[in-house]
Symmetry: C2
C-alpha cells in the first residue's frame, strides 16, 4: 500500500544503497521545521496517526515493481533492490512527539531509525502528512485564540487541496481547537463533531425564503441555523425570527458583519429570542476575527473555510527530513549539511521541555532538571520499535486536549498573531554543539 | 464509495428535500470561479477525470448510513432519505469543458443536472477536485511560461496538502505544461514522466562526496544528476566534472543561482562537458524564474516544489457551485443569488468561444458565429448522461496538449504573470441578461 506515493529519488537512492552495499546500514532521520511560518510563534504537531498507519502498511505490489523496472532510472538497478521492495516491511523505529504537542523550529517532531532504504523511502509521505496537518492545527489554534471564547468550526473542505486534504484538515483543525468540522467523513473516521445545516441552494430551491426556513426548522428543530443573506439579510432575519422556537439561530455569510450582526441581534431580541445565536461565515481569518471580537459584536460562533483548510496566509511549512546518523558495522557517523542557509545539526536528538524554555540535546543525554529539581519533559517518545507499534496512539480528542494544555502553558506573548521578538527560548545543548563542531572541523577545507 | 466525503449540510439538505417532497425535482448546478486569483489572467481547467470517477462511484455503505442515523441532525429525517442513500447512484448528467481548456471568471467548468439530492451531495467533492487541480495546472503554465523554453519539473509532493494532494498536483502540473513530476504514483497511475535522482542524504550517506557521485553515475548513467551543494557548490561541481561522461548534469539547490550557475557552467565546459546540463531547484517560483531567464543564465531546467504543489501565491480558488435551474412537474424555475458581492446569474449556460472573446449564453441558445462565419466553439460538452459515461475521457497527455494549444491562441498579454487591464473579453449574451432581469424583478420588493 502506498509504496509509490513518494518522490522517485527516494527509490533511486534506495536502489543505489543496494548497489553500494549500504542497504544494511542503520540511518537516523529527523523531521523538523527549519523556521516557523510568518506570524507564527509556535507550531502544533499533528498527523502522527497517519504517519504511523503509513509506516506500518507500506508495501509494493508486483504491478508497482514492474512499473519501476520499466523506468530508465532503474535500468542498471541491482536485482536485490526489487526483491527487497517485494518483501518490504518497515522494521525500524519511530519516535515522535505526541499529536497536539507545541513545537518550535529545529525541534524534531519525529525521528525514524531504520535500515537506510526503509528510512529513506518514507520521507516524502511523512513530510506531506505531518507538515500539512501541523499547518492546519496551528492555524486553527490562532483562529480559536482570536475568537476569544466564541466557537470556531472548520468549513473548508471545498477549498482544500483535494477532497482527502479536506478530511485531514477537519481532523487537524479539531486538534488545533475547533469544536468540529463540516466534513462528514472526518466525523465518521475520527469521531469529530460535525456541523452544518443548509446552503444558499436550499433557500433557492424553495418558492419562498420563508418556506425554506420553515422546512429547515421542521427538519432540524433546535439545530436549525437559518442562512439569511440569500436575498436581503435584514428581511431574512425578520423571516427567521417570525418562526420562533425551536432554532439554534441564524448565519450571516456576506455583507458588513459589524452592522448586520447588531441589527440582526436586535431583530432576534425584539422577537423574544435572546437565546437564538448568530454565526458568521464568509472569507474569515484570524485577523478579521480579532477585529470583530474587539468590537464585542454579538457573534456567537465563526465558521472558517478557505483560510483554515489551506492555511492561506502560510500555505506551506518549511518542514524537512534530514539524515543525522548512519551506523555501519558498529561505527556511527554523524552527518550534517553545511550548505548556505540550509545548515543542519548532526546526531539523533531529544527535546527537553522546561517550564520556560526548551533544550535540544543529544538523544542519549541525561535529561536535565529545572532549577526546582523537576526533570524536564522529554518530548520524543517511542511509537514503533522494530516495526511494531509499542504505544497506543491517543485519539483526536486527547490530542486536542494536549494542544489546549500546551497552549495554556505558553507565555501569553507567544499567542500573538504576529511574530514576537525575541521568540520563545530554544537552545541547543552543549553536547550537540560539540558534536556539530567536531563534524564541521572534519569537513572544512578537507578534500572529501 | 466516498459518500461521506462531503459537507454535512449537503446531506441535511438532501434529507430536507425528501421531507419537503422535492427529491424528484431536477436541479442544474454550475461550477465556476467568481473571479480569477491575484495575478492570473486565465485558468486552466483540470480535475475532470477525478470528478467523473467520483460521480460514477459515489455510494454509501451501511456503516456510513448508520453513522448518519446516529447524528442529532438526522433525528427527524424521513426514513425514505436513508433508503435513498442505501441505493444511491448518480443518475443525472454532467457537462464539462475538457481538461486543459482555458476558462475565465464566470464560465461554467462543469454543469450537473440531476435530481436535487444527487446534484447537491457532490458539491463539496467536485469543488475540491476541480478547484485544486485547476489552481496547480494554472500555476504550472505560469512557471513554464516564465522559463521561456527551459523544462520545468514538479517536485512538490513533500509540501503538498497531504500525500494524495501531491499525486494530484503532479497530475495537474503535467497538464499545465511541466515535463513531468517527482511523484512516482502520479507516474504509475497517469502515465506521467517521472524524474528524480538523489537528495542531500545520498551525499551524506557516503564517506565522501566523490564516492557518492561515483555511485550515482554507476546507477543512473546518462540520467545521473549530481546534487553539488551539500558542502561547497564549486568544489561539488569540480568533483562531478572530474567523473566525466555519462551524466545528465548537475543540480543547484541553494546559494546565489546567478553566480553559481555561471561558475558551474565554466567548470563543466572546461572539463570538456559542454553537453552536461544544469538544473536549478530550491524555493523557486515564476517570478524568480522570470528574473533568472532574463539574465540568460546557463540553467537548462527548473525543479519547482512548494510553490507549485501549493500554488503558494494563490493557495485557494474562489470556485463555487450554484443552483441555476430547478424543474418540477414540467415547470422550470430559474434561480440566482442577489446577496451583496455574491450575485450569480440564473439559468443553465453554455460558453461560446470566439477567436478573440467568449460569450456566456444560455444553454439552449443557437451558437453564434464569428464575423467570418465560423461558428463559435461551445466549450461545455456532455460527459455523463443519465448516469452513464458517454464520452471517453482524454488522458493527461491530451489535456496537456489542449492546454498548450489554448495558451497559444490567447493574446500574448494574457500570459503576463501580472493582472492585465482590461482582462480578456468575456460577455454575457443578451438572452442571459434578460433572464437575470426577469428574476430580479420578480424578487425585488416582493415579500418572499
Amino acid at each position: 500500500m502506498n509504496g509509490l506515493l513518494t518522490d522517485l529519488y527516494q527509490l533511486t537512492m534506495a536502489a543505489g544503497y543496494f548497489q553500494a552495499g549500504k542497504a544494511r546500514e542503520i540511518a537516523t532521520f529527523e523531521l523538523f521545521v527549519r523556521r516557523l511560518p510568518p506570524n507564527r510563534n509556535y507550531l502544533i504537531a499533528a498527523g502522527l496517526a497517519q504517519a504511523v498507519d503509513y509506516l506500518l502498511n507500506l508495501r509494493f505490489t508486483s504491478e508497482e515493481i514492474a512499473y519501476l523496472r520499466g523506468l530508465a532510472q532503474f535500468a542498471r538497478a541491482p536485482a536485490e533492490f526489487f526483491d527487497a521492495l517485494a518483501r518490504f516491511r518497515f522494521t525500524g523505529d519511530l519516535l515522535a512527539v505526541p499529536e497536539g504537542t507545541i513545537v518550535f523550529a529545529g525541534e524534531p517532531i519525529l525521528t525514524v531509525r531504520a535500515p537506510l532504504m526503509e528510512a529513506q523511502i518514507p520521507e516524502t509521505y511523512l513530510l506531506a502528512t505531518v507538515g500539512f496537518q501541523s499547518l492546519v492545527a496551528t492555524k486553527a489554534s490562532r483562529l480559536v485564540n482570536a475568537a476569544a471564547g466564541r466557537a470556531v468550526v472548520e468549513f473548508g473542505t471545498r477549498r482544500a487541496h483535494s477532497p482527502e486534504a479536506g478530511v485531514l484538515a477537519g481532523r487537524a483543525a479539531y486538534i488545533g481547537g475547533c469544536i468540529g468540522t463540516s466534513n462528514t467523513l472526518a466525523g465518521f473516521r475520527y469521531g469529530i463533531p460535525v456541523f452544518g445545516t443548509a446552503a444558499h441552494s436550499w433557500v433557492l430551491a424553495f418558492e419562498s425564503e420563508l418556506e425554506a426556513f420553515r422546512q429547515l426548522q421542521q427538519l432540524l428543530g433546535p439545530a436549525a441555523v437559518f442562512l439569511i443573506d440569500t436575498y436581503d439579510t435584514i428581511e431574512g432575519a425578520r423571516k427567521a425570527a417570525s418562526l420562533g422556537r425551536p432554532m439554534w439561530g441564524v448565519r450571516l455569510d456576506s455583507g458588513n458583519l459589524v452592522e448586520l450582526s447588531r441589527a440582526v441581534r436586535r431583530i432576534l431580541d425584539e422577537a423574544g429570542l435572546p437565546d437564538a445565536k448568530i454565526m458568521a461565515t464568509g472569507d474569515l481569518n484570524e485577523y478579521k476575527i480579532l477585529e470583530l471580537a474587539k468590537e464585542r459584536l454579538p457573534i456567537d460562533a465563526f465558521g472558517v473555510g478557505t483560510e483554515l483548510a489551506t492555511s492561506a496566509d502560510a500555505p506551506a511549512l518549511g518542514v524537512v527530513y534530514k539524515l543525522v546518523e548512519l551506523r555501519s558495522g558498529g561505527v556511527t557517523r554523524y552527518t550534517a549539511k553545511f550548505s548556505q542557509d540550509k545548515e543542519t545539526m548532526p546526531g539523533a536528538k531529544q527535546v527537553f521541555r522546561f517550564p520556560d524554555h526548551d533544550v535540544i540535546g543529544r538523544a542519549g543525554e541525561r535529561p536535565a532538571c529545572a532549577p526546582d529539581g523537576t526533570p524536564a519533559e522529554a518530548l520524543l517518545r517511542p511509537v514503533i520499535l522494530d516495526g511494531e507499534l509499542v504505544a497506543e496512539l491517543p485519539g483526536v480528542a486527547s490530542a486536542r486536549q494536549r494542544a489546549q494544555e500546551s497552549l495554556k502553558r505558553l507565555p501569553t506573548a507567544c499567542l500573538s498573531l504576529f511574530t514576537i521578538d525575541p521568540p520563545y527560548r530554544v537552545e541547543y545543548s552543549e553536547e550537540i554543539r560539540k558534536l556539530q563542531e567536531s563534524i564541521r572541523d572534519s569537513r572544512v577545507g578537507a578534500p572529501l
